[in-house]
């Protein structure tokens, strides 16, 4: 935490580890817009494998169209262009980057690329549902991750849906992944009430609330630093069943399920 305070008190220097998904696009485009420029970006890209969260638009965008597809959340005054591939954003802004030919964040090629980074802090946005393993976490780097749930209450997966179902709000927590996998502190937390209806939770709401939280975290002077309480009391959620997912979305869109 002390190191972290030091990092925050000086000019924020960081790198990024990204795959071309909506979350990465929302992060990168909004960080640049707000003047937070990564010194180096590692892009995970493999043409033979498709990300689980790949959207139809990703297929269109690979044809390098000039069209835009702006995804926005007016409540939070934030947006991103879904059709802009992250490599296009990188090149457009003359950023330093390297591409590793894999989608596996725990592979040796990624580990080697991370080793070469000079920054200690890395903003992480990997493929949906993957977990950083010991090997990559032991590189003496700190991975900044935005978890789409208010910790310690909403641990685990697809917490955005559970939070909407239980509390009608969305929370995000900025945490650090390092060699002590589950013990890093919660650096920053934010909770949002979303009034807009008919939003795609997976492809719009999730990336945008996370991006909003990341930007606020970079801008704030009030860091939490509270421990990530691993108390037995808090529930750990698993990937939401489609029925509960539907109930969560319907509750948000209609105010109630009936």
């Amino acid at each position: 935490m002390e190191n972290f305070q030091l990092w925050r008190s000086t000019l924020i220097k960081f790198s990024m580890l990204l795959v071309n998904n909506n979350r990465s696009k929302a992060y990168l485009q909004n960080l640049i817009k707000n003047g937070f420029i990564p010194s180096k970006i590692i892009v995970l890209d493999n043409k033979n494998h498709t990300l689980v969260e790949h959207t139809e638009n990703d297929k269109i965008i690979s044809k390098d169209t000039e069209q835009k597809f702006i995804r926005s959340l007016n409540d939070l005054n934030i947006s991103f262009d879904e059709k802009e591939h992250i490599q296009k954003t990188i090149v457009k802004n003359n950023l330093d980057f390297s591409v590793v030919d894999t989608l596996d964040v725990n592979s040796l090629t990624v580990i080697n690329a991370v080793k070469e980074l000079t920054d200690e802090y890395i903003v992480y946005s990997g493929p949906g549902g993957t977990i950083l393993r010991k090997e990559i976490l032991s590189l003496n780097k700190k991975f900044i991750h935005v978890h789409p749930g208010l910790l310690p209450g909403f641990r685990g997966s697809t917490t955005i849906y559970y939070s909407m179902l239980l509390e009608s709000t969305v929370g995000c927590s900025v945490i650090l992944f390092d060699e002590k996998i589950d013990e890093g502190p919660i650096l920053y937390k934010a909770k949002y009430e979303i009034k807009e209806r008919d939003i795609d939770f997976d492809y719009v709401l999730d990336p945008l609330v996370r991006a909003k939280t990341l930007i606020s975290f970079f801008q704030t002077n009030e860091l939490s630093g509270m421990p990530r309480n691993q108390s037995e009391e808090a529930a750990t959620f698993y990937i939401i069943h489609p029925l509960l997912k539907h109930l969560s979305i319907l509750k948000h869109n209609e105010g109630s399920i009936q």
């Binding site: 549902g129 009391e233 529930a235 698993y238 489609p242 539907h246």
Partner: protein
């Protein structure tokens, strides 16, 4: 689903049946088109057209449809069915059985009779013709009666009417149980939002499965079978944790006792969520699988029932963790419903599905 399209010779069975089949085949399910005459031919033409031979053939078709249905195959059968007993058999033994009756006047049948069957029979040249010397009793309880007497019928409208009535038109299938989930585990990642109608699609899946189980249980009852009284036996032995024994123990325990095992049950949920399977044995220390055997089918309804008890006794967020697992376990049960054969498996599966539906009533109107 098994559909019997019933009508006399020249009533339009094949014409309408083919069109209906084309429409059905565009859905996700695999359909088989079964024509009464083709069926006789496939079996080697060992039966004639006498009343008794027709009875045998009709029963064969019923049994064959039941067999295909038990394998998860959908059948559209175009049949000249004159035996109410076999229509009744279908209703009692096939959970998704629908009957469509093509009602055509005798005058129109004769007019459309390309084979000249009726004319020959009327002249006495041939025997055993239904409608002439064999009586045709219209089906006693068809799901839909189609009046096929118009000169130029609107077949599209007719097909749509049939699909609407038998409940196959507007709703797509509940895709989460269409494959055997023990063979092809469902990850549920980025599942598609399908709108409000999904709630009905889900419900229909559960009701269909319950119907299958109820019919199967009734058969067991008719045969005098009874449920087993599970014996409680130790669930730990040396370093091994026996899942079924543990679930049976919890099944018979009071709430207070159940609560003492919350940690173990939560670990079992964690393990289940990773591989979407329940294993025969786990190591006693960390409850990690120590067996590759996951096809002890009774464990799935028992686990679902135990989780339902936890769900009811829990007040905070953990409630949804239990409900989420219940839905996934019950998806597995529904996806392998034709493998549930033993009395206990079926009996507890009915309880597990009914319990889930009653919980879901808290959330869905």
């Amino acid at each position: 689903m098994i559909i019997w399209l019933i009508g006399m010779s020249a009533s339009g069975k094949t014409t309408i049946g083919r069109r209906l089949f084309n429409k059905l085949s565009s859905s996700q399910r695999k359909w088989v088109f079964l024509d009464g005459d083709t069926f006789r031919n496939v079996l080697g033409e060992d039966l004639g057209h006498s009343y008794e031979d027709r009875r045998k053939n009709s029963y064969r078709i019923s049994r064959f449809c039941e067999f295909l249905h038990s394998q998860g195959v959908q059948v559209l059968a175009c049949v000249l069915s004159i035996f109410h007993e076999h229509q009744k058999y279908n209703r009692e033994n096939i959970s998704e059985y629908k009957e469509v009756y093509l009602d055509t006047t005798f005058e129109n049948l004769v007019k459309r009779d390309n084979k000249g069957l009726y004319k020959k029979a009327l002249k006495g040249e041939i025997k055993d013709v239904v409608g002439i010397d064999i009586k045709f009793p219209p089906p006693y309880a068809p799901d839909i009666v189609i009046d096929n007497n118009k000169e130029n019928p609107d077949y599209d409208e007719m097909i749509q009417k049939i699909l609407d009535t038998i409940g196959l038109s507007t709703e797509s299938d509940y895709s989460y149980t269409s494959k055997n989930l023990l063979e092809f585990p469902q990850k549920y990642q980025y599942s598609k939002y399908e709108g409000k109608s999904f709630l009905n699609i889900y419900k229909k899946d559960r009701i269909t499965t319950l119907d299958t189980f109820t019919k199967r249980l009734a058969k067991h009852n008719r045969n005098g079978n009874n449920p087993t009284n599970f014996k409680i036996s130790p669930y730990f032995q040396d370093d091994t944790f026996y899942l079924k024994e543990f679930l049976v123990f919890l099944y018979h325990s009071e709430v207070e006792e159940i609560k003492k095992h919350t940690g173990t049950v939560n670990t079992l949920i964690k393990r289940f969520e990773v591989g979407k399977k329940l294993y025969l044995t786990y190591d006693a220390k960390e409850i990690r699988k120590s067996s590759r055997e996951f096809e002890e089918l009774i464990n799935y309804p028992l686990f679902s029932l135990i989780l339902q008890r936890y769900y009811k006794s829990e007040k905070n967020q953990q409630k949804l963790v239990y409900l989420n697992a219940i839905l996934k376990v019950n998806d597995i049960i529904s996806s392998v419903k034709y493998d549930y054969i033993l009395y206990d498996e079926i009996y507890h599966s009915i309880d597990a599905l009914n319990g889930e539906l009653s919980i879901m009533e808290e959330y869905i109107d």
